[in-house]
């Protein structure tokens, strides 16, 4: 009996250009994969893909929606890139987003019947602090009790969602709201200014863009960024160089949590305008895909957030025009991640096939 023996070897030098090019390959493969799925569902794949990827952004409103959804994705992914670059696996951005929204929303509700220019900044700061505190929980447990940050940060997502649930049903529910699980509407001073009349795109996009530039500066031009880079490549070297490992873990989690918290505030003070149960279509989880698709590079993340945002919009149009469930959006996001990881694997490893005869082993 002849069997194929598969051998996997590490490639020594991967060209940087190819490293930044593979995300495009992953996107193309995702589109092809999507076409195949549409075909098996009985649709004309070209037509369906057009509905999915072209129709949503063929008018100004659609384009504004693209930016609207890219705004939180980009901001969260920027925060996550600090964690991921330094080998800290914060999977709980969704929870930090939710808790940031709770704190920010709490501030907004405090001022529900007041107007003033200072209200919105207070809400944003509240959101950032909320996200930061929530991200500090896995960070402190990791540094001082050796827990696994993947599990803790992930589990805390559900904790924050339940807290939100409790608040909007109980103490914070709108007294005039006929027991709907939602809070009062925020006052106008507590809302993100809209950029254009009739479009939903709001000033939160400037926070995301500012985060891109600040993070680029911190990651590539400061001592903190240098320490993050070294720790991500080799923890042994970071220890040898005497970097304060524990402090750094706390800092990257705080940055990440603050970004996610502000993204949550952007949602509730932007398109939503109040707190209710469904403040985020899993932006916190999807941003993980965005961070990796963007190669943890601030400018790559802008591009990746637009691509992934399009899968949300495409899913909505596909539901309307093709009567297929909105969850296809998650299928596309999953495919992007799958193809990205697969092409990375082939980028970093080569696979060799060898023949060997299994029968000989038996004697």
């Amino acid at each position: 009996m002849e069997d194929l023996l598969i051998k996997i070897e590490k490639r020594n030098d991967v060209p940087t250009t190819l490293y930044f090019f593979t995300p495009f390959i992953a996107i193309i493969l995702t589109i092809i994969g999507g076409g195949i799925i549409f075909y098996t569902l009985g649709f004309n794949p070209i037509e369906a893909l057009k509905f999915y990827f072209i129709t949503p952004i063929s008018n100004l409103y659609g384009f504004s929606e693209l930016l609207l959804k890219a705004t939180p994705l980009c901001l969260i992914a920027i925060g996550l890139s600090f964690c991921f670059k330094s080998n800290n696996w914060n999977i709980g951005a969704e929870g930090q987003l939710t808790f940031g929204a709770i704190v920010g929303g709490g501030v907004a509700l405090l001022f529900y019947n007041q107007e003033g220019f200072y209200i919105l900044p207070l809400i944003i700061i509240g959101g950032a602090i909320g996200g930061m505190i929530f991200a500090l929980i896995p960070a402190i447990l990791k540094t001082y009790f050796n827990t696994n940050e993947i599990l803790v940060s992930l589990m805390l997502v559900y904790v924050s969602k339940l807290i939100l649930d409790y608040l909007v049903v109980g103490p914070w529910s709108n007294p005039e709201g006929f027991n709907f699980p939602e809070t009062r509407q925020f006052s106008d001073s507590a809302r993100m200014p809209l950029l254009f009349e009739g479009l939903r795109i709001h000033a939160g996009i400037f926070i995301s863009l500012a985060a891109v530039f600040v993070s680029w500066f911190v990651l590539y031009k400061t001592y903190l960024g240098f320490q993050i880079k070294v720790s991500g490549l080799s923890l042994k070297t970071a220890k040898y160089a005497g970097f304060k490992g524990k402090t750094m873990i706390l800092i990257v989690f705080m940055i990440s949590g603050a970004c996610a918290g502000m993204a949550g505030v952007g949602e509730i003070t932007g398109p939503i305008g109040q707190l209710h149960r469904m403040i985020s279509p899993d932006y916190g989880f999807t941003a993980i895909i965005v961070a990796f698709l963007g190669r943890l590079n601030p400018f790559g993340i802008i591009f990746a957030s637009l691509v992934v945002s399009l899968t949300y919009l495409g899913a909505e149009t596909a539901q309307i025009f093709l009567q297929i469930p909105q969850y296809t959006g998650q299928v596309f996001q999953g495919m992007i991640l799958f193809f990205l990881l697969a092409s990375d694997y082939l980028l970093f490893f080569k696979i060799k096939f060898q023949n060997f005869n299994k029968n000989e082993l038996r004697h």
Binding site: K221, Y240, A241
Partner: protein
């Protein structure tokens, strides 16, 4: 049936080093053979060739006069050559039985029967259904041995098997090995521990620098004779001027250094005390794995141990991290230059920035001062004759020698008062070794001190003013290097005692 294993004219050459130089040996079943040698003597290369992990450049292996083609570990298995490596190849979260059944060719029921027979026959007590991670190192090793026995091997190779075992477990292992031997399995025992050779083995082959230097009956050998064969009568050619002046200031003093670890692959350190004068080189000899790693990390501040006192230039620094110790003018060159002292993916100037200290101004107010770092890197490249002037080059493209020059340069350009280095010339070619030795002598001449932890006795005898040997985490008495001979070192390194 008797087994006869013959290795004929095996050679294996790596760039810059001959790992096996025309090695010929013969082994017959019914005896336990020892393969003895220092680190880098070529033992591991030879057993890797026998187990099919690497192929020789030249030479052949014969089993019962049949020429074996060993091009993969599977070939070794087919030919009934079993191998137990120093580091275990077990899945920690799977049970013992699952681990054993992975590469078995029979059904689980008959496999279990056979495993139980083996357990009974050799008096092993191992619960087959617990996860491997719950086993002690000795039990894990038994699982590896059972895996070999299931294939009814003709040859069983044990690579440094006692390095992770307790005394008790070592005794049990020896009893089992003697049993296997009586049953006709040919046993090859790789070690650098002299006492084990004498108590367990019948014949001993000593390797040095890739060559077999002697084959003899152990009954005709003593610890001393084996030690001198293992280390060789290598007298240092260029020896540094010994620093004897007694009235120099003491610069570094370690008291009550203890280290305890739960990890069986780490060595506990037991009450180390030593001190160092200005301009002096203290050599710490020992076979690798006797606590040098842990000692280096404690001296550099990567590991902080409680109740230890380290005085450097009249200040207590035992609680400081490596960066803070650097501010007091200490410098460190670790053994693992490829993945610890430098990051291969980083550019040369980024690797230089790893040794960041206050006066360097590499990072002013938290910002990277790239111009300053690059200037500084250029100076290191030229001062320490690294064969490139491109500071943007990724350090993975430097040869071992040039990388080590870069690292030493980075550490020394700050003019430290004390350099602690661990195997600074490991794996380098002669030219680079000489350059580094000259550099280390030069810093002593400039009244700076060095602690040289090394597994290379020749290097230690050449560079040190005083030498101590570390064995199983304990430090021998510190001897002036004029009184030290290679034989004495060999005995101490193998766990023996002198006078």
């Amino acid at each position: 049936m008797a087994t006869d294993l013959r290795i004929s004219n095996i050679s294996k050459i790596y760039p810059g080093c001959i790992a096996n130089d025309n090695v010929s040996l013969q082994f017959k079943s019914g005896k336990i053979y020892a393969l003895l040698g220092e680190n880098g003597a070529g033992k591991s290369t030879l057993v890797k060739i026998l187990s099919g992990v690497i192929s020789p450049d030249n030479g052949e292996v014969f089993l019962n006069e049949k020429n074996l083609k060993l091009s993969s570990p599977l070939d070794a298995k087919k030919n009934k050559i079993g191998m137990v490596f120093q580091h275990f190849n077990l899945f920690e979260t799977l049970s013992v039985f699952e681990n054993l059944s992975i590469d078995a060719t029979e059904d689980n029921k008959s496999l279990r029967v056979r495993i139980n027979e083996i357990l009974k026959k050799y008096n092993f007590s191992i619960n087959l259904d617990v996860p491997v991670l719950n086993l002690s190192a000795g039990q894990k090793q038994k699982v590896e041995i059972i895996r070999c026995l299931l294939r009814s091997p003709k040859v069983l190779i044990m690579d440094e098997p006692t390095s992770v075992l307790t005394e008790q477990e070592t005794e049990e292992l020896f009893i089992s090995l003697k049993k296997f031997c009586d049953e006709g399995i040919l046993i090859i025992y790789i070690t650098h521990k002299l006492k084990e050779v004498l108590s367990l083995c019948d014949e001993v082959a000593v390797m040095r620098k890739g060559k077999v230097v002697s084959v003899s009956q152990t009954q005709n050998e003593k610890v001393e004779t084996l030690a001198s064969k293992m280390v060789g009568q290598k007298l240092a050619k260029i020896k540094k001027k010994i620093n004897t002046s007694k009235n120099k200031d003491e610069i570094f003093k370690v008291k009550h250094l203890n280290f305890y670890s739960d990890d069986p692959f780490e060595t506990n350190l037991v009450n180390l005390n030593f001190s160092l004068k200005k301009g002096e080189c203290l050599g710490i000899a020992g076979i690798s794995g006797n606590g040098q790693n842990e000692l280096f990390q404690i001296l550099s501040g990567e590991i902080i141990t409680p109740n230890t006192s380290i005085i450097f230039r009249n200040k207590e620094i035992a609680k400081l991290n490596p960066k803070q110790r650097r501010e007091y003018l200490m410098a460190f060159s670790p053994e693992d230059r490829i993945s610890q002292a430098a990051v291969p993916e980083l550019k040369i100037y980024e690797n230089v920035a790893l040794n960041n200290f206050k006066s360097s101004n590499f990072f002013e107010k938290g910002l990277v001062n790239e111009r300053k770092i690059k200037e500084h890197s250029k100076k290191i490249l030229s001062d320490f004759s690294v064969n490139t002037d491109n500071v943007e080059l990724k350090s993975q493209f430097l040869s071992g020698g040039n990388l080590q020059k870069l690292i030493l340069g980075r550490e020394l350009i700050t003019a430290p008062e004390l350099l602690i280095c661990y195997n600074p010339t490991w794996g380098l070619d002669v030219g680079a070794i000489n350059y580094i030795h000259e550099t280390l002598i030069k810093i002593n001449d400039e009244e700076k001190s060095t602690i040289l932890i090394s597994t290379d006795t020749e290097e230690l005898l050449k560079l040190s003013d005083r030498i101590a040997v570390i064995y199983k985490g304990k430090l021998s008495k510190i001897m002036p290097s004029v009184e030290v001979t290679p034989e004495k070192l060999g005995i101490l390194m193998g766990g023996g005692s002198i006078d």
